[in-house]
């Protein structure tokens, strides 16, 4: 069976701005939205776009990511010769292969891509929350007869200095690329989403490596090289919701936005589902003393307290007279009685003991790490 498209999801980064949340696990594996991990959005986009071969490139603390992604069966990818493949460093007769940058990670995995023999390679980040139909972007790429299409979106002009900015002509062809410019000529920011014609990209990566020219990073090396050589590089504009959850505050606010039943991310849309590995657990149990409003609750939760405008992931326990507000609680957290949690992120398996308080403010969200314990020891089991 011919493979038209292979997606390569770059999931290697540590994401150090997420602090203790990415100490033992890679950023794309951080829990999100009650039932998900961050990378679920990119992989689900692939599945919904009809892309069946997905390479997940990773080298930082891969255990959780590996067992989460597996062969991709949770996303229906393990069909029709497709599947997810975790791509880690390895050694060969040429030596050891760690990844030094985004383009270098693709270079080191040329064998994997060549095995699938695709026409196009879609390069994605594993740490963005959005829904996007890559098939439409691919149609655009074909229509434009492009060699590279870059996904872009308009950002407020005052934010352009934080992004790679694309200047386009009237046909949407990219004529200039400014990396984090002081004075941007456009407000179209790169989303880190690329569609390459594989044969051409491979040529760039192999030729330049063999000539010892730096070709490690897409933004710094590959795109400039393409533009220098007047390759057909086009910008594809994306209009929907898109969020980089690279900081504690953005992770928190993305969860709060996700919670809104009218939010455009619309998690209940049956035509564009976000898939994940589903744990095996019990129904959610709201006792007579529970009071749950404007909240998302996941299977396995046991709630005897009050939950308002919050997301509780699976198997969270909330004791009597506890109040959880404006917060995101990761799986398997145990919250005792008389606890107050407000504007906080509670890590997986954390234990908040009776009477404890975890309270943040919008500009400084409180964070409890994975398995962390807060508060004194009570006599509860």
């Amino acid at each position: 069976m011919k493979t038209e498209t292979v997606a390569m999801i770059l999931a290697g980064g540590q994401g150090s701005r997420l602090g203790k949340l990415t100490k033992q696990i890679a950023k794309p594996a951080v829990p999100f939205g009650g039932n998900y991990r961050i990378i679920d959005f990119a992989i689900s986009n692939c599945a919904n776009s009809g892309i069946k071969n997905v390479g997940v490139v990773t080298q930082y603390q891969p255990l959780v990511l590996n067992s989460h992604v597996g062969n991709g069966s949770s996303w229906g990818l393990n069909r029709h010769n497709g599947g997810a493949t975790i791509l880690q460093p390895y050694s060969s007769v040429d030596g050891e292969k760690f990844f030094k940058g985004t383009a270098h990670a693709i270079y080191q995995n040329i064998d994997y891509i060549d095995q699938k023999d695709p026409e196009y390679v879609v390069v994605l980040s594993g740490d963005h929350i959005y829904k996007m139909d890559y098939e439409k972007m691919l149609e655009y790429h074909k229509r434009k007869d492009a060699n590279l299409t870059v996904g872009v979106m308009p950002v407020p002009w005052e934010d352009t200095s934080r992004f790679g900015v694309m200047n386009t002509d009237k046909t949407d062809r990219i004529i200039e690329f400014q990396e984090k410019p002081e004075h941007a000529k456009s407000n179209l920011a790169s989303m880190g989403i690329y569609i390459f014609n594989w044969a051409r990209l491979k040529q760039y990566l192999v030729d330049n490596q063999s000539k010892n020219r730096q070709m490690e990073d897409f933004g710094h090396h590959v795109i400039p090289a393409y533009l220098r050589n007047s390759e057909a590089v086009y910008a594809y504009q994306f209009e929907g919701y898109w969020k980089d959850v690279g900081t504690i505050e953005s992770l928190w606010s993305a969860n709060m936005e996700f919670l809104d039943p009218d939010h455009e991310l619309n998690i209940r849309d049956r035509d564009w589902r976000v898939y994940s590995r589903n744990p095996n657990t019990t129904p959610q149990f709201l006792t007579a003393s529970a009071r749950v409003t404007d909240s998302m609750i996941t299977d396995g939760c046991y709630i005897a307290g009050e939950v308002t405008h919050s997301i509780l992931s699976h198997n969270v326990k909330v004791g009597k007279n506890s109040v959880i507000k404006d917060s995101f609680v990761m799986p398997n957290a145990v919250i005792g009685e008389n606890v107050t949690i407000d504007k906080a992120i509670i890590g997986e398996g954390a234990h908040i003991y009776d009477g404890a308080e975890v309270v943040g403010i919008e500009e400084d969200i409180a964070v409890v790490g994975y398995g962390e314990e807060v508060g004194g020891y009570s006599d509860e089991k």
Binding site: N35, N280, S313
Partner: protein, 390 residues
């Protein structure tokens, strides 16, 4: 460790009194507790004992059961390398032989073939209508310890925990050695307030004992089923031990006992006894979003599965997946199965909605705890109370 148990699931269970819930499904695939089906419980016992195969004896087409089980991979019963789910349909046999096989009769050859090709030393026989969560490893240790030929699981209950015309049976326990079984009585012969040792129709046998029995049963053309198997083995002179089960149990024999079993789960002790033990209950995973409770939702002692949207009032009820409950709807003491929709102002009390029922604006449905009202699958309930079956 390799599993020492080769399990047989006897699903030729009586479903007449559970209609209309069993119109299109066997007892084994009755939905239970927001996200399960009854078959999940014996299957999870197999999973927790790391069994690699199961033989299912099914009456009728088993269609809904197959759809739930699929490859059996949820319970470690995948067949890609040894093991697997082997199904035997009574119906198939019937049409093949042209004779009307007796309900519940063993199919000796299928049993024989299945059991002999396993390397396991013991045969386990289980059903699905006696809702419980049995640890087969404990049963196995008990059986090996006692060194008898058959161990049958029982629970000490009161006669009137069962329905009046129950078809179940009780064990006669030896006065001297409370682990020895001396005989079997029909429940219908027993008084209402007696304590009885309910035969849970779950047993462990030595493989040789089982094969000897099959040989004899085939040669002598005996009609032995799970219910009278124990009396048969005692008559044959086998040593039969009784293993006492102390966890949650409910015999699901009619609509009311089915309803009560669900309502039982809203009691934390029962819920924990059945679910929060070392042996988790597994069901087929489905992709789902968390359930959203709106700002107008009022919930009191209720259980939900994922994928619901709740804006109304839900009290002392069990709600399955993908149920929408509008603002102003009021649900009490009810079971709402998946894909149902309850519109504004509708009132439901002591009701069982089968899958995919649509209750329109302001409709009222009311049963009693003794006689819950069952609305069949795919029905539409109109505002004036008229019910259109789907």
């Amino acid at each position: 460790m390799r599993s020492k148990i080769v399990p047989i699931l006897n699903l030729l269970e009586d479903y007449e009194k559970l209609k209309p819930l069993t119109d299109r499904r066997p007892v084994a695939s009755l939905p239970f507790a927001c996200r399960y089906r009854l078959i999940d419980f014996p299957f999870s016992s197999l999973y927790n004992a790391e069994s690699e195969s199961a033989a299912l004896f099914i009456s009728g087409s088993g269609h809904s059961l197959y759809d739930h089980i699929r490859s059996g991979s949820t319970w470690g019963l995948d067949s890609s390398a040894g093991g697997g789910v082997f199904t035997h349909s009574q119906l198939e046999k019937k049409s093949a032989t042209g004779t009307d096989s007796k309900h519940g009769k063993f199919y000796y050859d299928d049993y024989y073939k299945y059991v002999t090709r396993s390397r396991a030393e013991y045969v386990a026989i289980m059903g699905s209508s006696l809702l419980s969560n049995i640890n087969l490893n404990s049963l196995l240790h008990f059986h090996e310890d006692k060194d008898g030929e058959v161990t049958i699981v029982y629970k000490k209950i009161r006669r009137d925990d069962l329905i009046a015309d129950s078809k179940l049976s009780a064990l006669q326990i030896d006065n001297e050695d409370s682990s020895k079984v001396e005989g079997v009585n029909h429940i219908s012969d027993l008084n209402g307030d007696e304590h009885i040792y309910l035969n849970m129709e779950t047993m462990l046998l030595n493989k040789k004992t089982f094969l000897d029995f099959l040989f004899k049963a085939k040669n002598e053309d005996l009609s032995v089923n799970v219910a009278n198997f124990i009396s048969f083995t005692i008559e044959e002179g086998c040593t039969v031990y009784g293993y006492e089960y102390t966890g949650y149990l409910k015999a699901i024999e009619d609509i009311k006992s089915y309803y009560d079993a669900n309502m039982d789960m809203l009691d934390e002790d029962n819920f924990n006894a059945l679910f929060y033990r070392a042996d988790p209950v597994r069901t087929r995973a489905k992709n789902s979003a968390p359930t959203y409770y709106g700002s107008t939702a009022v919930i009191e002692n209720a259980q939900f599965a994922n994928d619901c949207e709740v804006y109304g009032t839900v009290k002392h009820s069990i709600v399955f997946r993908k149920v929408n409950i509008a603002e102003g709807a009021h649900i009490e003491n009810s079971i709402i199965m998946q894909d149902s929709s309850i519109e504004e102002g509708a009132v439901l009390k002591n009701v069982i909605l089968d899958k995919h029922v649509y209750v329109k604006n302001g409709a009222r449905l009311e049963g009693t705890p003794e006689n819950p009202l069952v609305i069949a699958k795919n029905s539409v309930v109109y505002s004036n109370g008229e019910i259109e079956e789907g």
